[in-house]
Symmetry: C2
Subunit: 156 residues, 2 copies
């Protein structure tokens, strides 16, 4: 079954899924955040078919999330590094990780914990308000759709 292209939907969630909504994509991004840069390491760690990995990496490069850099000349070898756009996926990744920690892990607890080096503590990523700093809860939020008119919509 072919999916609809979400890029045409006027919704940032849909457009994000258009880029990273494929099964393997976020796991490749996860590997990149773990510092894994080379094709063979990714392939081994993910247990993914080589052709699938090649296609996914190419798509991430095409979308400007990974950058392909040559690190050796003879023979030519390349590695993949997160761009600024890719690094900015960190909140998506940790939000997924946190949800998985809470709802999918067993008695052993979270398989990976995060250390926030500047403060030196083990951290649980929180989603907070840019204005008041409090935790954002779904029930406290109201979504406003911008009118067709454009950026200077009501409420601005």
């Amino acid at each position: 079954m072919r999916r609809t292209s979400f890029a045409s939907m006027n919704c940032s969630v849909a457009r994000t899924l258009e880029v990273v909504g494929e099964w393997w994509t976020m796991l490749i991004v996860r590997e990149a955040f773990f510092g894994v840069r080379r094709f063979d390491s990714m392939q081994q760690r993910l247990g993914i078919a080589r052709n699938v990995l090649a296609t996914r990496l190419q798509s991430l490069v095409d979308h400007g999330i990974l950058e392909r850099r040559r690190y050796q000349e003879r023979p030519e070898r390349f590695e993949y590094r997160l761009t600024e756009k890719g690094l900015d996926l960190y909140p998506v990744l940790v939000a997924m990780m946190r949800w998985g920690d809470r709802w999918t892990v067993g008695e052993d607890g979270p398989p990976v914990t995060l250390l926030h080096q500047p403060c030196g503590n083990e951290t649980t990523p929180m989603t907070t308000c840019s204005a008041c700093g409090e935790a954002l809860l779904a029930r406290d939020m109201r979504a406003r759709t911008r009118a067709a008119a454009g950026p200077s919509a009501p409420g601005a």
Copy 2:
């Protein structure tokens, strides 16, 4: 091509993708957060095939993310509501939304803005440290892997 089941991977990102990593799933969850509860409304808004929507809704019910409730007896009619586990996907959704706002929208700006009702301000969801409250940046983080299984953090 059949994908691998990620549930067996000892990683909370992988396990989360196992549940919500399908193309349509997060958009159905988005609709639920927008307050859309009925099959026909979802179907219309998403432009999704009825059989695909039915399968996805069933999967979300099976995973305990949506709850199916009868709201009318004759004829019997049901609606879908987010459970606590479903509501807890809000940080994943807003993280995707924020990334999409930043990297995929054009000059018109974000199609949807969020109002944080307790403080009364338009908000940009931030990912912050539960210990010190500062914004979490990928470069400041260190991942620690519990036990032997699963991905290890290089450089750690």
